[in-house]
């Protein structure tokens, strides 16, 4: 199976190719240059893998949360490509990608936890959402070395997370990842984390692991490909100040 993945949800512009288990990927921190870099990056991947677009089975894309514009760039580009190829798409969560990267950081130790009867490891992923908030979600690791979401993804002020982190948990190791922790260091101090990666951004390598592990029932029609913004109160209804005469 051949899967193309592209993501521009954060300052990172990243794209990757899964070719029957082999991974090719690129990652560049390039704020505001995604529109210039994304497609050339995809071209390069196909060259490296010796693949043609028509050999792709699935277009996966970073569906957010993240920069609204960035999330839309990847979504619209994936939609255009998938419609041109008449193949499905799959949206991958930027928070899940961050968490998936930690499965590798932890190595076998985390997996042993997942396999054993002791409390499972929990990975908290957070991205800076601006406006005094972070995008946050917690993940645990399945036996297949793939992260799975616990609860829901949300956009919250750091204070909400601080209060939650202060509660006693039954979980085993807790891990923090993502720029949300870099932006709000109090979140790092709030808990005795086993490890903290406060500058992590989504990387296509880990997104492809998630995409490859996803069941086909998760694949979507390009028309159903939807960004996940989490923040939806983006416009205010203006009070009409027209004088009544």
């Amino acid at each position: 199976m051949n899967i193309l993945f592209l993501d521009s949800a954060t300052e990172a512009c990243t794209a990757g190719l899964w070719q029957n288990g082999e991974i090719f990927s690129h990652f560049e921190i390039a704020p505001r240059a995604h529109t210039k870099l994304l497609l050339p990056m995809v071209e390069l991947l196909l060259l490296e893998a010796g693949l043609d677009f028509t050999q792709l089975d699935l277009i996966a894309f970073g569906r957010g949360p993240g920069s609204f514009t960035g999330v839309r760039i990847a979504t619209a580009c994936a939609q255009g490509m998938a419609m041109g190829l008449d193949i499905p798409v799959l949206g991958i969560s930027s928070l899940a990608i961050l968490a998936q990267a930690q499965v590798h950081e932890l190595g076998q130790a985390a997996l042993d936890f997942a396999h054993s009867n002791s409390a499972p490891a929990v990975i908290h992923a957070a991205l800076d959402a601006r406006m005094g908030e972070v995008y946050h979600a917690a993940f645990t690791v399945t036996t297949h070395s793939v992260v799975t979401l616990m609860g829901t993804e949300r956009v919250v002020p750091p204070a909400v997370l601080l209060a939650e982190f202060a509660l006693p948990t039954i979980h085993g190791h807790t891990i923090a990842t993502g720029t949300g922790f870099g932006r709000y260091p109090e979140l790092v101090r709030a808990k005795p984390w086993r490890s903290v990666l406060s500058d992590a951004l989504p990387d296509a390598r880990f997104a492809l692991e998630l995409a490859a592990a996803a069941p086909r029932s998760d694949w979507q029609n390009p028309a159903d490909a939807a960004p996940v913004y989490l923040r939806d109160n983006v416009a205010q209804v203006k009070v009409d100040r027209t004088p009544i005469t």
Binding site: I73, T75, D240
Partner: protein
Amino acid sequence: MRVLGIETSCDETAIAIFDTERGLLANQIHSQTEVHARYGGVVPELAARDHVRKLPLLLRAALSEASMSRHEIDAVGYTQGPGLQGALMTGAAFAKGLARVLNRPALGVHHLEGHVLAPLLEQPQPDFPFLALLVSGGHTQLIGVERLGGYTLLGESIDDAVGEAFDKSAKLMGLGYPGGAALSKLAEQGRRDALRFTRPMVDRPGLDLSFSGLKTAVSIAVASGHDHADVAASFEQAVIDTLVIKIKRALAQTGYTQLVLAGGVAANQPLRARLKTLMAERGGEVFYPPPILCTDNAAMIALVAALRMSRGECDASAGFEVRPRWPLVALSAQI
């Protein structure tokens, strides 16, 4: 050559297919008016969100309307600017992704060039050179069109665009947003000479225009209890008279005998009628596209892409950079 056009510069999502042999094969337009109405103006973030939702549906509908498979698309044109940055990016990303996997060339198109050349989608067509009056919610410009890609900005509004003045005046009369068309409708029942609004900037030399003062005059007239239909009719008349005075000057200055009316306000019937009379009196001709091709659409984008690509142009880069601020006259400098 069959060119797919994609337009997402503001609050219309549109996809069209133009065939250089057979003309327009599909013209799909989704208007977001309802999305923005409650906010009293276009909310850029909401516009961009809606474009992403609608693009795949419109592509499917356009191919179906043209009874074509995606493989029969020979090229893709998309609006590269000017417009709302986030909105432009959605269409550009979609267009370039699509064109790349189909292994077809793509070309970023200037939205206003699309409007100005839209009359070429229909018969009879104007011949170069001609004078174009571009009147929409975002622009009011008098443009000398010498040839494809040869444009001279002769004059423009120094403040509100004509469409903006219509919408703002409509709002003052409680006609909702966007209420420009409703204002014209109301004007049909009013007396065009009931109120004597100033014809702005007509006593000054040059071809620049101004409409914000007219909007203020409407506000005062409404506040002092004048009949809304009379205010609407008098306002519309003042706008038309002002445009006519400037058009006459522009025709005299350029020596052109053909006038093209373009942009959303070009759908305004009294304006069309007045300009038809004006050009007939002068022994010239006026061209205006049908209303559906006056407002934002992708047919004009596909047309411009087809015209430019048939002389060998296409995007040099694989990226999809957009140009939110991009003066039309910048195109002339490229040649």
